[in-house]
């Protein structure tokens, strides 16, 4: 009993401990490359967590999160390029733009179910990419948007900003999932008709999940714009490199778990960095991603965190009876 209590206490404080450790990270003087990797990992965890809210908990698998990511990035970039104010204002501004977009996309796509919803969101991402490419006067077309002066040379502040966004996202999702809303989401995922017959307004709650998820993804987009300083439609609305990688982050880490997206982001970012650093493999990173995806879906369908008990059992088996 005592042990279980301790375990419970540990579990409760685990996120806080992680957050404190991460906040102290810049003080140990990591090189700027390592910081870059860590920032990318945290950014991808934010996107993964956002996707997980809509798809893992609410069961509406989206193949088009690049739409929200890109719109966030463009909302912030265009504040800079059109109005000449700091792109950081994109953080509040993107809430309006991305939520409006999510409402429109939700109106069109949420009437579809399962794989059809997935495909419809996928095409939404592609529509936005082509629109951004063609509206040359408005978005700059294929030339993209470049921020000429970076806010900070050092990566420390970027790190703290994305860390704050990530902590906020984590908290927001935890609160939502543990509230009544979260139960509605899971009910919709498990059986939409049953949920509807129990008096849950499924369209409303699916729209709420979509808007929240879109908003959080939009933040990551705004951060990307400010951090990278350059965007173009092919980068931020990319199907494989944003939308599919988002899915992979969660699938690899663990669907419908709090820590799954974080674990997945660590694995995916490290994997892509390793592949990129070996010149002979550079062009083959999609093959590795694809094979990883196939292996994960066949053997660990709930991801590393979700199937952790299964993994532990395997490890015990391989050790043999002791």
């Amino acid at each position: 009993m005592q042990m279980r209590d301790n375990g419970f206490q540990m579990k409760k404080y685990f996120p806080i401990i992680i957050a404190v450790l991460l906040a102290a990270l810049p003080f140990i003087g990591l090189s700027s490359y390592v910081m870059h990797i860590i920032i990318l990992v945290i950014m991808w965890s934010v996107i993964g967590m956002a996707w997980n809210l809509l798809s893992g908990y609410c069961g509406q698998v989206s193949f088009g999160h690049a739409a929200f990511f890109g719109t966030g990035a463009y909302a912030s970039g265009m504040l800079y390029s059109k109005f000449g104010i700091s792109a950081w204002w994109g953080l509040p501004f993107s809430i309006i733009v991305v939520t409006l977009l999510a409402l429109v996309i939700g109106y069109i796509c949420l009437r579809l179910r399962g794989p059809f919803f997935a495909l419809a969101t996928l095409s939404m991402g592609v529509i936005l990419r082509i629109t951004a490419e063609n509206l040359v006067n408005f978005t700059g077309g294929d030339l993209g948007i470049m921020i000429r002066e970076r806010t900070w040379i050092e990566k420390t502040w970027y790190y703290y900003i994305i860390l704050a966004v990530a902590c906020g996202t984590f908290l927001a999702i935890k609160i939502v999932i543990e509230s009544k809303l979260g139960y509605y989401f899971v009910a919709i995922r498990e059986d939409q008709d049953a949920a509807e017959s129990l008096g849950i307004n499924t369209t409303l709650y699916k729209t709420i999940a979509l808007c929240l998820s879109a908003m959080l993804t939009g933040f990551a987009g705004v951060f990307y714009m400010n951090y990278m300083g350059y965007i173009d439609p092919k980068v931020v609305f990319a199907l494989h490199d944003i939308s599919i990688v988002t899915i992979m982050v969660v699938m690899v880490g663990g669907v419908a778990t709090y820590w799954g997206p974080v674990v997945g982001a660590i694995i995916m970012v490290l994997l892509s960095e390793i592949i990129r650093s070996v010149p002979a493999l550079g062009t083959a990173h999609h093959t590795f991603f694809g094979i990883l995806l196939i292996v994960i879906i066949i053997f660990l369908p709930n991801g590393i965190v979700g199937d952790f008990p299964k993994l532990r059992k395997l490890r015990d088996l391989s050790r043999g009876p002791s």
Partner: protein, 311 residues
């Protein structure tokens, strides 16, 4: 409307219909897979890309005409489809997981691997099969000397269109008249009932996936004399196939044919009157319109007509 405007319009309509015939072939492949297996094959375009590269290799090594390579690429794609279904998709169908969309995500993975392997082998250059009839065309003025407007019919486009129509007719014969075809349709209508009637449902699934991929493979060979190829070409055709299936109604073959032609027409109209770059947007506009105003697709209209009720 002046005669020039009329000429442009008619020419656009002709190329739209020719394009639509090829699109229909791609759409049918996807729609029968969707009808029988209830999953979306997101590697559809990539399978087409594989067929296009088969045709390309045959052309550059043996100077085989792309239209002849239909007879090689189609069986090859049939085997590839069977292998994918048997060794990758079937195991996933048995796996327990939170998200039922696993199979769709799996096909994305397959597509990524295929496209990337093609990049690895052929590099991402744009390639073409320079056939000597590529620019040949028939002109209206050849037949009718004093025609007020001049129309042309590109030869590779029309040949591709005719072959596509022939393949579709063969498919219709197969589905309507043969035992296997009837079993496939039975499986699509009601899996459990088909199982009770003694249809080997698992076998039908494997055959259907093979059939769907061989159809898109044939479409790939027909596109080769017209298009250039590059490894990432598959993605856009996956989307086209999906738009056609939504437009035509899920799992409906006739719907897919009509949907393909509508899409071809619409795309070529946007390309002429709005701008080349916007043609893909036109594709999606019609997709969104179909989702909002005609969620059941063309098939629902046909059904309503057959049952004698207004919409």
């Amino acid at each position: 409307m002046t005669s020039i405007q009329l000429e442009v319009l008619l020419q656009t309509l002709i190329s739209g219909i020719l394009l639509g015939g090829l699109y229909a072939l791609i759409g049918i492949g996807m729609t029968i897979i969707m009808g029988v297996m209830k999953i979306i094959n997101l590697a559809h375009g990539e399978l087409m890309m594989v067929a296009m590269y088969i045709a390309y290799v045959l052309f550059s090594l043996f100077h085989m005409d792309p239209y002849l390579s239909v007879f090689i690429a189609t069986p090859a794609l049939f085997l590839l489809g069977i292998a994918i279904q048997k060794y990758l998709i079937n195991p996933v169908l048995k796996v327990e997981s939170i998200l039922p969309e696993n199979q769709v995500i799996l096909t994305v993975g397959i597509g990524m691997v295929l496209a990337n392997i093609a990049t690895f082998i052929f590099k991402s250059d744009y390639r073409q099969t320079p056939v000597d009839y590529a620019t040949k065309a028939w002109y209206l003025s050849d037949i009718w000397k004093k025609t007020p407007i001049e129309l042309s019919l590109s030869m590779p486009w029309s040949v591709s269109f005719v072959i596509a129509v022939l393949i579709t007719a063969c498919l219709w014969f197969f589905l309507a008249k043969t035992d296997t075809g009837k079993s496939i349709r039975a499986t699509a209508q009601d899996r459990d009932a088909a199982l009770l009637m003694g249809v080997n449902v698992d076998k039908m699934r494997v055959i259907t996936f093979g059939l769907g991929s061989s159809l898109v493979g044939a479409a790939g060979c027909l596109f080769i004399p017209i298009y250039y190829i590059y490894p990432d070409i598959g993605g856009q055709f996956t989307l086209i196939a999906f738009v056609i299936t939504i437009l035509g109604g899920l799992g409906s073959t006739v719907g897919a044919i009509i949907g393909g032609v509508i899409l071809g027409l619409f795309e070529s109209l946007t390309a002429t009157y709005v701008g080349m770059g916007w043609a893909p947007v036109g594709r999606f506009v019609i997709f969104v319109m179909a989702l909002i105003f005609l969620p059941g697709g063309v098939a629902s209209l046909l059904k309503a007509k057959r049952l004698g009720i207004g919409r």
